[in-house]
């Protein structure tokens, strides 16, 4: 789990009891029980009100959840997503001030197989969470990550764009909801028992994750797979929105991580309130205005249960991955400069996605993260400079041509590994050879001809991830087959290019 969240536990206990019995700044009556920011001391009752109001306010401000709409809450078991779950419960309860009007369901992705948990531990963890989920009365789905291996390629194919839901649509939906008087929208209790996981699929999943040679790539790959599975679950179960529990602290780390991973173009989608990269399924982040500290206070005070879930970077050193490093950097800086998180977070609010995503052709989207490609070779760009450097450092480089601009060759797809890769790295992916030699060792760049075909279908950052993999053949079938389909499409387009009148405009 996010280290940043955990680190709040200690100072928390000390801060919880203000020295003198200060009065609440809100009601001026109750005894202060929490101090959110310097000077903002709240009593228990006012803090609860403030916390609940914030959740309603963020949903009210963005107006993306329609009355009667099925919304899937992605609960990881951590404090933030469990707090989100409790807020939804609160908002749906009979005595809620302004009742929420969407229909929630819960999904938990069990990643135990990827992080090497034992079968017993996984079972225990799932049982613990099921108890929490059952208590809510919401339908819930426990999905082992292994299922990602059997996804259909439609997950990464171009999804149908949602019917135009302009500003008026919200009102219409409210109207329908009021007319139906809420009848028939009572929640159907359904539970999907955790499917039995075949040992062989756990093994395949581990091989897939292990084929990434660096922890950075492994974490990135796991994120991608998890998201695909979330979106797929939402689609098959009839949900149109997925709620994620990212809080402000988490998002500050994520923003800096994204920048460090070369995802500047995708930053707004990675960290914004709503994320429409999957078109028909919109991801929303209603917890983004809460700090990890506030959430920890609230959960403790109002007994919101959460479960410790180990992740890939649990118990790893600071420099084991970019994600881990960024997290500890932000945590340390926050301790010295308490406005760090909020400042980074505010930066994210001022960003937008680079190109308008609605007009982009399907083939111009990254095969893995589904964001618009940011790899058009533009003059004097970091991407072009990198290509030039690689070209000038290898044999066959046209040494004399001065202003040649390298073009990305649409090379034929070759998913099979042909080249023998560096020995020390391909050892089952058990250790991280990158960290021993500071990453400059055998793991760094400049090889892997087998992945060149795939690379052209990926955004800048996902190319980095693939470059860190010993071979792409372990990627799940749904990804490879969609890759082949896209390759065929682009070859076709090449063949008929001279007859096409408007480039880039194709109805598919």
């Amino acid at each position: 789990m996010c280290q940043v969240d955990e680190d709040y536990h200690e100072p928390l206990q000390r801060a919880e009891v203000p020295s003198v019995s200060k009065k609440c700044v809100k009601c001026k009556e109750g005894t202060a029980a929490v101090v959110i920011r310097a000077g903002d001391a709240f009593c228990r009752g006012c803090f609860k009100e403030y916390f609940i109001h914030k959740f309603r306010a963020v949903l009210g401000k963005h107006r993306v959840l329609y009355p009667g709409e099925k919304v899937l809450l992605a609960v990881s078991g951590g404090p933030s997503s469990c707090s989100m779950l409790s807020q939804v419960q609160e908002g749906l309860s009979q005595n809620a001030h302004k009742k929420l009007r969407f229909l929630p369901g819960i999904v938990f992705i069990d990643e135990g197989g990827a992080v090497g948990q034992s079968v017993e531990d996984r079972r225990r963890m799932v049982a613990e969470l099921q108890a929490v989920f059952k208590a809510t009365g919401f339908p819930f789905h426990v999905v082992p990550l292994e299922q990602v291996l059997d996804l259909p390629s439609s997950v990464v194919a171009a999804a149908p764009s949602p019917s135009e839901r302009a500003a008026g649509a919200y009102k219409v939906a409210v109207g329908h909801f009021i007319q139906s008087d809420g009848v028939g929208v009572t929640l159907k209790r359904e539970e999907s028992a955790p499917a039995d996981v075949q040992e062989s699929s756990t093994h395949s999943l581990q091989q897939l994750i292990g084929s990434a040679k660096t922890l950075t790539a492994r974490e990135d790959l796991l994120n991608t797979l998890r998201q695909h599975l979330l979106v797929h679950t939402a689609r098959t179960e009839g949900y149109s929105k997925v709620m994620l529990g990212d809080n402000c602290t988490r998002l500050a780390v994520k923003l800096l991580t994204s920048i460090s991973l070369g995802r500047g173009a995708q930053l707004a989608q990675d960290t914004g309130f709503s994320d429409s990269r999957y078109r028909d399924i919109i991801l929303v982040r209603p917890m983004r205005d809460y700090s990890a500290k506030e959430i920890a206070y609230y959960n403790r005070m109002f007994c919101v249960p959460s479960v410790f879930i180990p992740s890939l970077d649990t118990k790893t050193a600071d420099k084991s991955s970019i994600q881990r490093l960024t997290e500890s950097f932000v945590t340390r800086l926050q301790a010295d400069f308490p406005s760090t998180v909020s400042t980074i977070y505010r930066t994210s609010e001022k960003l937008q996605t680079c190109k308008s995503s609605s007009t982009a052709d399907h083939c111009d989207r990254c095969l893995l993260c589904m964001c618009a490609l940011d790899t058009a070779v533009e003059n004097a760009s970091a991407f072009q400079a990198t290509l030039i450097s690689e070209q000038l450092s290898q044999a066959k480089a046209p040494a004399a041509t001065s202003a040649a601009i390298p073009r990305q060759n649409p090379a034929p797809m070759e998913p099979e590994s042909t080249a023998a890769t560096g020995q020390c790295c391909s050892s089952g992916g058990g250790e991280d050879c990158g960290k021993a030699v500071g990453g400059v060792g055998c793991c760094s760049s400049a090889k892997g001809p087998e992945s060149t075909g795939l690379r052209s279908l990926l955004c800048y950052s996902c190319q980095l991830t693939i470059r860190d993999m010993s071979s792409v053949e372990r990627l799940p079938h749904y990804i490879l087959s969609e890759a082949q389909r896209r390759q065929r499409r682009s070859q076709m387009r090449e063949e008929i290019s001279e007859f096409l009148l408007d480039e880039g405009d194709e109805g598919d």
Binding site: L255, S260, L261, G264, F383, S444
Partner: protein, 343 residues
Amino acid sequence: MPVLCSNCIDKRAVLKRPKTGHSLCKECFFWAFEEEVHQTIVAAKLFKHGEKVGIAASGGKDSTVLAHVMKLLNERYNYGLELMLLSVDEGISGYRDDSLETVKRNQQQYELPLKIVSYEELYGWTMDAIVKQVGRKNNCTFCGVFRRQALDRGAIMLKVDKICTGHNADDVAETVLMNVLRGDIARLRRCTAISTASEGEGVVPRCKPLKYAYEKEIVLYAYFKKLDYFSTECIYSPNAYRGHARTFLKDLESVRPSSIMDIVHSGENLSVREGVKMPVQGTCKQCGYISSQALCKSCVLLEGLNRGLPKLGIGKHHRLHDKILSKQPLTEKEERKLKSVDF
């Protein structure tokens, strides 16, 4: 077993490129390094034939390599540029004296004209004297603001069309991180630009031919070319926040060497939402230099120094600009707030 150069597959490799991980021989590395700078210059259309270009020279590794490569490429590819060196003397004893000696040696080696402008002649203050008044905490604010303007003033004296600076990929990446940490969206948007057009009178267009060169490769280049440079850091340490960004970048690079370029790529592809307020650039009412306020930063800092109120230029005291312009005295209360050195 000697490793062969991955480019010529003939000579023995002497280094592993920090940027790509390839093993190269000396000649192939020189060629690749120079060629990459050339391609950057061509692709970004940094110069026009016949232009007069001032190379900002500090005596450090970046500007020494920049001067060397600019002279070399100008001859190799017939850019037709008239090159000269432009140095700023901040007045830091023991640091700038020695580095200026290096610049003077470079001038002779490269046979380029050299112009030195000093803080003392421009502002009446040396950095040493400034530090005596403001302490060591915020001196880099002064240094940075004054240097920027000093370069412009020197460039105008020399009548150059452009200034090129030794900023490398690490510097750009560090600035991207810095601006994210500070939440400075306006600078975040500008800081990855490879060149800036003249933003007004008194401001000379600038460019960064080494924008895509790794600092480590610049050192390797200088080392194998046996270039003469001054390698001591400024004795007045940079501010804490930049220090954090720098350390973080070095750590990122050690985890994934391409991080530097990855961050530059991120910066180049960021896009700011419409409707986010950006400061409007105007000109300073006192000296005419570009400024988003009534007074430019350098005039405010200078005013603070001259009135013995060093805090004036640090933090936001825009309300006081009118008083400064009309040469009015500040109230006692205002003075008290700005006097303390403890900031």
